[in-house]
Each structure stands twice: as structure tokens, then as C-alpha cells.
């Protein structure tokens, strides 16, 4: 049951219809969410019903023990136990060949935020066991994020229920519709009609077609993952819960550090807060130590996607570039992203060049991320180096979808907000009919079956 399937939305509607009448009875309402979480896992595989509750209960107990403990040794022991449980889940499900449909890495990352925050005294543990259990395995987030701090989510679950504002409901439906559109109309189309073909058999394509396929993959990945995230955020919002943003026009980044502040934000924040800051030497006098830590963080971030040379190279490429940027003191790009029209004026030229170079580097690294092994990545690079030119395999429709993808990614946030608020303010029948029309259109024009979300594999 993936978030583009009819079963997912029937499930969500069922949870919604049971949750809201009970919302004022907080324990019951949170219990509904917990039941939904566990039912969803059971739908994937019944063995999760042993793993998830056991790991969640252990983390709850550890978090409370950490909160009470004052001795550094005991605290380290406790947090090590939590790390062992959660990292053990990731390692055993991702790297040891123990076959279950979900790797639980998003669950483990989310759950670790609970114990690590308490260990650092950044947050108190959830007082309600139910809220903790429901937060760590909150069903819209545990497939592919956004990774939400347990303290944030449990805090919302423990707070007295607020009625769902009509406009918030409209925004939730808008996000769900937008997520479906991104995934089914753009990501899956680009994958099926160019990207997968070229990455499977690069020798059949010219350098120009291969280059377009690499760019298309960049957009496929963005629309696939951000589509999932929109559906997850919309699903949570329907239950009155707010999840953090995960993307902010990443391909408009002017530098690689800027890119990582815009791409998979909750994951890069997690890496920064819980891995990078945990490595020794953060305040070392030697600038090389934090830079090396950055490299290690990115390599581990790469290997989290899979134990393969391709992910190692991908992490290394980002790590090396980020380290270089840090060493050169070139990380201060906190200015907001340029609007497309601003690129044409004044300093816009330099910004546009930075954006283009960053995008090209990110695309180059994506080759290793997408290729199943380094040999396939070399084959793609060899085709790019062949300098052959023909666009015979780029159909007009594909070019149009790619242009729409690029334009959609660059839509100014003001326009986006305007569209969101416009939809949210419509009467219920307009909202419902528009959503149904969108779903029918997607069913009619999209592939017969949606491809699995890329990040659910990780």
C-alpha cells in the first residue's frame, strides 16, 4: 500500500473518519493513530508488529531513564542502547539480507531523535506512552519521511485537540493532489519514457539524449520524493498534525551547501544535528578536522542509501565538494533564492552561473546515485563523452513534460501560496470535484500502475 494507491487513501479516509469524532478524547484519538500505524505495518508484513512495538517501548523507557539519570556513564550507556536498537534495525534490515519489505530506516531515524534529544537535554521525553508510540511510527512519515522529531510530533499529539480549520483541510487536500500530480504525471512519465531506458541501455542513446536523461532523472527524483512528501504532509494535516518541510526548490541552489539546505531537508538536518555534531573535533583549532567530519558525514549519508560503491561515490562527491566549499569559506549563501526573473538583472548573471554550475554538479553526482553499479555509471559517462548528437529518442511530449517539470520547480513561493490558498478557500464541492477530476485525469493519462516511490527503498 503506497501513498499513490487507492488503498492508501481509503485507509487515510477511514483513519480520518474515526479520528475526528474521538479527537476531544485525546487518549482514544491517539490510540486510533497508533492502531493505524501498526495496521499499516502489518499490511506490509506481520513481523513488524513484533519489531516496532518492542523497539518503540524500549526507546520510551530509555528516554525516561535518560531524563532521570544524571551520571554521564549511565547516560552514555542508555543512549548507546537506543543507538544499538535503532541502528541494529537499519543494519539488519538493509545490509544483512533479512528480507522485509520496508527497511525501517526512516522509523529508526525518527525514533532516535527522541532519545538523542533527551540525551542532549534538548527536549523532555513524551509523558504519554501512547503519544510516544504513535509519534515514532506515525504512518505518513515512516515510509520515507519527512523525518520529524519525536518531541515535535508527540507534543502535538499530547496537546489538547484543536478543530481542523476548514482552510487547513483544503490545504491538506491540495497537497495530496499536488503530490499525486508530481509523482504520476511527471516523475513516473520521465522515468518510463527516458530515464530508465537510458540508464538500462546507455549504448543505444547519443550523448545529447544521455545528458537530457541525466537532467530528467534529477527532476524525476525531485518530483518523486517531493510528491511523496506532499502526500505525507497533506495526510498528516488532515489529522491536524503539522510535519516539517522537506524541499525548498533545491535546483535553484547557488552552491552545494545551499543545495543541502534545500534538498531532503529533514534528512540533512538529521545528519547535521545527530551525526556531524556528534563527531569529535567539531571545535578543533585545525580547520581540517570539521571538514573531514563533513566528508565522513556525507559518505555515511551516501552509504545509508545502500551498501554499494555507487552510493559511496555519490556521498564522496558531495562530501568532497562540501568540504572544499567549507575550507574555502564559501558557505555563506543564506540569501533567499533568486526569483527567475531576477536572474536577468544585475548580479543575477553570477547567481545564474552559480545555480547552473551547482545543478550540473548535482546532476553529475546523481549519475552514480541512479546507476545500479559503478560500471553502469561509467557507461553513462562514456556515452556523455562520445559527443554524439541526435534527439531522435526525445519525443515532443517528453520535452514538454521536462519543461513543465523545470518550470514547476521554479514557481515562486508566492505563486504557490496563492494557488494553495485559492484552492483552500473554495467551497467543499469545488474542492472535492477538482480532486476527483485530477485523480481521474491521472488514472487516464498516467502509467497503468504507479512505480514504487524511490525513497521507500531506502
Amino acid at each position: 500500500m503506497t501513498p499513490t494507491s487507492a488503498a492508501w487513501f481509503a485507509f487515510l479516509a477511514a483513519v480520518y473518519l474515526v479520528y475526528w469524532p474521538l479527537a476531544r478524547f485525546r487518549t482514544l484519538a491517539v490510540g486510533v493513530i497508533l492502531l493505524a500505524n501498526w495496521l499499516l505495518y502489518a499490511r506490509w508484513d506481520l513481523r513488524y508488529l513484533a519489531l516496532i512495538p518492542a523497539a518503540s517501548l524500549a526507546d520510551y523507557a530509555i528516554a525516561h531513564a535518560l531524563d532521570r539519570a544524571s551520571g554521564p556513564f549511565l547516560r552514555r550507556l542508555l543512549v548507546s542502547a537506543s543507538l544499538a536498537i535503532n541502528l541494529g534495525l537499519i543494519v539488519s534490515l538493509k545490509y544483512t539480507g533479512w528480507v522485509l519489505p520496508l527497511s525501517l530506516s526512516f522509523y529508526a531515524f525518527q525514533s532516535l531523535t527522541g532519545t538523542l534529544d533527551v540525551y542532549r537535554r534538548d527536549a523532555r521525553p513524551a509523558s504519554s506512552l501512547l503519544a510516544h508510540l504513535a509519534a515514532v511510527s506515525f504512518f505518513p512519515t515512516t515510509l520515507s519521511g519527512p523525518i520529524t522529531r519525536v518531541s515535535t510530533l508527540a507534543g502535538q499529539l499530547e496537546a489538547p485537540a484543536k478543530p481542523l480549520a476548514a482552510d487547513d483541510g483544503g490545504r491538506a487536500l491540495f497537497l495530496i493532489g499536488l503530490g499525486l500530480l508530481k509523482k504520476l504525471a511527471i516523475a513516473d512519465y520521465l522515468a518510463a519514457n527516458l530515464v530508465d531506458r537510458v540508464f538500462d541501455f546507455p549504448n543505444l542513446y547519443t550523448a545529447a539524449e544521455t545528458a537530457i536523461a541525466v537532467v530528467a532523472y534529477a527532476f524525476q527524483l525531485y518530483y518523486d520524493f517531493s510528491g511523496y512528501t506532499d502526500i505525507a504532509i497533506g495526510s498528516a494535516l488532515l489529522l491536524g498534525l503539522n510535519l516539517p518541510r522537506n524541499f525548498r526548490q533545491p535546483y535553484l541552489a547557488e552552491s552545494l551547501p545551499d543545495f543541502w539546505r534545500r534538498w531532503h531537508i529533514t534528512f540533512s538536518n538529521w545528519l547535521r544535528d545527530y551525526l556531524y555534531f556528534s563527531l569529535p573535533g567539531l571545535r578543533s583549532r585545525h580547520r581540517i578536522i570539521p571538514a573531514l567530519n563533513l566528508l565522513i558525514t556525507m559518505i555515511l549519508g551516501g552509504l545509508w542509501h545502500g551498501a554499494g560503491w555507487n552510493f559511496l561515490i555519490w556521498g564522496l562527491l558531495h562530501g568532497v565538494a562540501l568540504t572544499a566549499a567549507r575550507l574555502w569559506g564559501n558557505t555563506r549563501t543564506a540569501e533567499p533564492a533568486p526569483r527567475p526573473c531576477a536572474l536577468l538583472r544585475g548580479r543575477g548573471g553570477r547567481r545564474a552561473a552559480n545555480t547552473l554550475l551547482t545543478f550540473l554538479y548535482v546532476c553529475f553526482a546523481w549519475i552514480f546515485f541512479r546507476a545500479p553499479d559503478p560500471e553502469s555509471a561509467w557507461a553513462i559517462l562514456a556515452r556523455l563523452a562520445s559527443f554524439t548528437f541526435s534527439l531522435a529518442n526525445i519525443s515532443g511530449t517528453l520535452a514538454l513534460v521536462l519543461v513543465i517539470a523545470a518550470a514547476g520547480h521554479a514557481v515562486p513561493s508566492k505563486w504557490y501560496d496563492r494557488g494553495l490558498n485559492f484552492y483552500a478557500a473554495r467551497p467543499f464541492y469545488v474542492q472535492g470535484a477538482a480532486l476527483a477530476a485530477l485523480v481521474l485525469s491521472l488514472q487516464y493519462v498516467a502509467s497503468t500502475a504507479a512505480a514504487p516511490f524511490i525513497y521507500t527503498r531506502f
Partner: protein, 322 residues
């Protein structure tokens, strides 16, 4: 506490989708089934025989002898079943043409010949269907049709030697010059129609279809632009052996289509040695293949690759269905 407007919007959307699914005029668009909610509490336990699939659902591996009804919620097979029903009723001209694309196991027409026999026994025999006019590899054969050829320059789509991507219906192109020929021998009586598929092209030559000493047809393949050509030829009663010979090159042929004048099933076996599903998706030129499909009007197209993909785990898990 129930949020009124969002709830009504959800109910409206669900009602629209349900109505679309159950209104014949809009059914092809999609919508939702009323049985959708029934599966929500269905959980899976691996020892029961179910395994998780890549899309996040589950699947039950086939057991020998078990009957697994086809699940076709979108009704995409409706047209096929309707055509087959008319064929079974022996309505005039009710021919159900099935194309079966496949890889090495299909090139020798083994499984497909059995399926053809079974279907034709139940629904009637409307002819052998499509076959190539030579053997691109030694184990290309069709049960009921002896095939031999000489002189042709054969380009199977699996070798993707032709940049134009025009491989006819069957995935192989036969380029011939003066004197190149193919000989086909049928083991069954009753075929009355033979249609040669060729490429009409500028400066195209000509070929003849011959049965015994008689020339049944002489076909000029010249045309202003390159495009598909089909030369229907009536076969004399009882004729079982015939030849196709290039009178004047160059000529480019794709295969022959054999028919009988009766309602029934035609089952065209289209095997390509070493083929991946990507051959159809990437090597065949889409426009050309579309024209071929339009001409042969199949009620069902079976895509039966996988042998050669099986060594690429990621491809099988994540890309094949697409």
C-alpha cells in the same frame, strides 16, 4: 469536532470517483471500486504463501494446477473478451488476433504453438498468423510452417543494427537483392490468404510470390517516402508450398501473415532471440510499430519477456513493469 468542509470535500471526491467507475460512459477513465475498503484489514503473513511485491502490495506465487482469475479492475481486457465471445459465437469475420511477443523460449514457437492449438480448438482456426520469412537464428521455427531463406541480409531488432527502427511486426528486417528468396511450406491445408509485409521506399525494387510454377503476385515496393506496405495474395486451393523471390533489388521485407477464411483465433508468435522488454520500448520505432499494430488489429498483445532480464535484479524488481 468532525471538520465539516474537509469531510464534505472528501465525500464529494469519493462520490465522483465512485460514480465515474460505475457509469459506463466514464468507466474507462478509472475511479474507485466499492470493494476497496474491504481489503484494508487484510494483513499478510509470509508463511501463508504471500510475498511482498516491489510496489508495496503483496502477491501470491502461482501453485501448479491452481486457477488464478485475472484481476482487471480497469476493464482493459474487456475488448479482448468481447472479440473472443463473438469469435466463439462464430459471427462472420469474427477473428481474434493475438500477438505474443517473447524472447528465446518463444522463438521456436513451442509454448505459443500449444496455446495456439488450444485456442483454435475451442474458438476456431483463422490461420497461423505472422511469421518471419527466414531464420535469423538456427532455432527460429514455427510449428506448421517450414521456413527457409537464402541471400537475405537479416537484421533482428535485438542487434539494433538499423538506425531507422523499422522492424515490422515481428522484429526482424530482411533486405534482399536480385535472386534472394524465401520458401515456406505449410503442413496444414486451408490457408487461403497470405499477406507479405514490406517496406515501401524510394528506389524500392520488386518481388514475386510464387506457388509451384505460377506467379501469384508481383509487387513493386517503390514509394515516395519510406513506409509500411502490405501485399495481400490469394493462395490457390490446396497450395502448401510457395516462395517469395526478389525480382529487382533492393527490397526490404518483414514477414508473412497466413489466414483462413473462417471465424477463429489467429495466434502470432513473435519471438526474438536475446530480447529484452526494452527492445519493444526502445529499439522499435514507435510510429512504425504503431502502424503495424493498427494494420494487424490485435485484440490482445502479450508481452512475455523476462528470461534475459532475470539476471538484473534491480531491473526485474523496479523497471520491468514500467
Amino acid at each position: 469536532m468532525m471538520p465539516l468542509r474537509p469531510t464534505l470535500a472528501i465525500v464529494t471526491a469519493a462520490a465522483c470517483l465512485y460514480l465515474a467507475r460505475h457509469t459506463p460512459r466514464f468507466r474507462h477513465l478509472g475511479g474507485i471500486e466499492s470493494t476497496l475498503a474491504a481489503g484494508l484489514l487484510d494483513v499478510t503473513l509470509p508463511p501463508s504463501g504471500r510475498v511482498a511485491d516491489a510496489a508495496g502490495g503483496w502477491t501470491t506465487p502461482a501453485r501448479p494446477g491452481a486457477i488464478h482469475p485475472l484481476v482487471d479492475p480497469s476493464g482493459s481486457l474487456d475488448r479482448f473478451f468481447e472479440t473472443l465471445r463473438r469469435t466463439e459465437m462464430r459471427e462472420p469475420d469474427a477473428v481474434t488476433h493475438i500477438l505474443h511477443y517473447g524472447d528465446s523460449p518463444t522463438t521456436a514457437d513451442l509454448i505459443t504453438a500449444d496455446v495456439r492449438d488450444l485456442l483454435q480448438k475451442q474458438f476456431g482456426d483463422a490461420g497461423h498468423g505472422f511469421c518471419l520469412i527466414g531464420q535469423p537464428w538456427a532455432w527460429y521455427m514455427h510449428r506448421g510452417v517450414g521456413i527457409s531463406g537464402s541471400g537475405w541480409r537479416i537484421s533482428p531488432a535485438t542487434q539494433s543494427a538499423l538506425r531507422d527502427g523499422m522492424y515490422g511486426l515481428g522484429g526482424a528486417s530482411f533486405e534482399g537483392v536480385d535472386g534472394d528468396a524465401s520458401h515456406l511450406a505449410l503442413t496444414r491445408d486451408g490457408h487461403t490468404g497470405l499477406e507479405v509485409a514490406f517496406l515501401r521506399q524510394p528506389a524500392g525494387g520488386s518481388f514475386s510470390v510464387i506457388a509451384g510454377d505460377a506467379t501469384l503476385a508481383a509487387v513493386d515496393t517503390a514509394g515516395d517516402v519510406a513506409g509500411p506496405g502490405f501485399a495481400p495474395v490469394g493462395l490457390p486451393s490446396g497450395a502448401r508450398r510457395f516462395s517469395i523471390r526478389v525480382d529487382r533489388g533492393p527490397v526490404r521485407l518483414f514477414g508473412v501473415h497466413l489466414t483462413r477464411p473462417a471465424p477463429g483465433v489467429i495466434y502470432s508468435s513473435l519471438g526474438l532471440n536475446g530480447a529484452y522488454v526494452s527492445v519493444l520500448a526502445r529499439v522499435f520505432r514507435e510510429k512504425h510499430w504503431r502502424e503495424q499494430l493498427r494494420h494487424y488489429r490485435p485484440a490482445l498483445v502479450i508481452v512475455n519477456y523476462g528470461t534475459n532480464e532475470s539476471v538484473y535484479e534491480n531491473f526485474v524488481d523496479f523497471a520491468y513493469e514500467k
